[in-house]
């Protein structure tokens, strides 16, 4: 599995660290306990495409938003998590 880092180009997956679902970027504002419970604990468990957060920890240190097919391990899209977060604002 190889991931195309927007800064560094295509690199072996051993250079990256997996954090989890990209849902972590959608931290709820305010004190709604139910929304926060959902944010912390609830995850979809898809077969097929899933949006995830990876860090290029052995490289540029950037957090990446990676859309990956969890069945085939095909990497479909990679963006800087920073840009995805910015676009959602």
């Amino acid at each position: 599995m190889r991931i195309h880092c927007p800064h560094c180009g295509e690199r072996d997956h051993r250079e990256f660290e997996y954090l989890g679902s990209a849902k972590l970027l959608e931290r709820p504002e305010g004190g709604d306990a139910a929304a926060f419970h959902d944010y912390v604990f609830q995850r979809k468990n898809p077969t097929g495409e899933n949006a995830e957060l990876w860090q290029h920890v052995m490289g540029c240190s950037a957090w990446l938003h990676v859309v990956r097919n969890v069945t085939t391990h095909e990497i479909i899209a990679v963006k800087l998590a920073r840009d995805v977060k910015e676009a959602a604002r």
Binding site: H7, C8, G9, E10, R11, D12, R14, E15, H56, V57, M58, G59, C60, S61, A62, L80
Partner: protein
């Protein structure tokens, strides 16, 4: 301010290590300063650097040299200014524009040269070495450690964290030995 600088007690590599057709040496620069521009301050940082060291920050994956100072990309939002440049000078000049920290004792600069430098490198680093040109620099895995890899006319410069330096030397020495043994068959 207290002097927190660690003073070297012994050379990491006294004499260059030559095994087969590869040579590993330590080429520690006078200073390694990390420059991380604050949000929206990239252009302002460039202006200051041009005035102080006659260098602008290179783009992603590039390195630039002017006389005895070099500016290299070192990751997202971070650059290393390496060579004859004092922390106090740069920290003062970039005051409100960037976070400047002294990394001189935190990173070690190794050089790998000789006819087999590339072959040795390919055993330690998964970078596409064919695609790496002069003037480029890459943050990449080197012997399971994070590093900055910069091609040089003689081979490669490997920047590694000080605490991993002996491990890096050990692995490199091992790779050099294995390649030399292979060549002797």
């Amino acid at each position: 301010m207290a002097d927190f600088k660690l003073h070297p007690s012994e050379a990491l590599i006294g004499q260059p290590i030559e095994i087969g057709a590869a040579v590993l040496a330590c080429n520690q620069p006078a200073n390694i300063l990390s420059v991380a521009p604050f949000k929206g301050q990239g252009m302002a940082v460039n202006d200051v650097l041009k005035a102080v060291v006659k260098l602008a920050l290179p783009t992603v994956g590039r390195v630039r040299t002017k006389k005895h100072v070099r500016a290299m990309w070192a990751g997202q939002g971070q650059w290393f200014v390496v060579g004859d440049i004092e922390l106090a000078v740069l920290a003062q000049a970039l005051d409100t524009k960037a976070a400047v920290t002294d990394q001189s004792d935190a990173w070690v600069v190794l050089t790998l040269g000789g006819a087999d430098a590339r072959e040795v490198m390919s055993r330690l680093c998964s970078l596409d070495l064919d695609a790496l040109e002069q003037g480029q620099t890459a943050r990449a895995e080197f012997a399971h450690m994070m590093s900055c890899i910069t091609p040089t006319p003689e081979g490669f410069e490997i920047m590694i964290m000080r605490s991993f330096a002996k491990t890096a030397i050990h692995h490199t020495r091992e790779a050099m030995g294995k390649l030399a043994a292979l060549r002797a068959l």
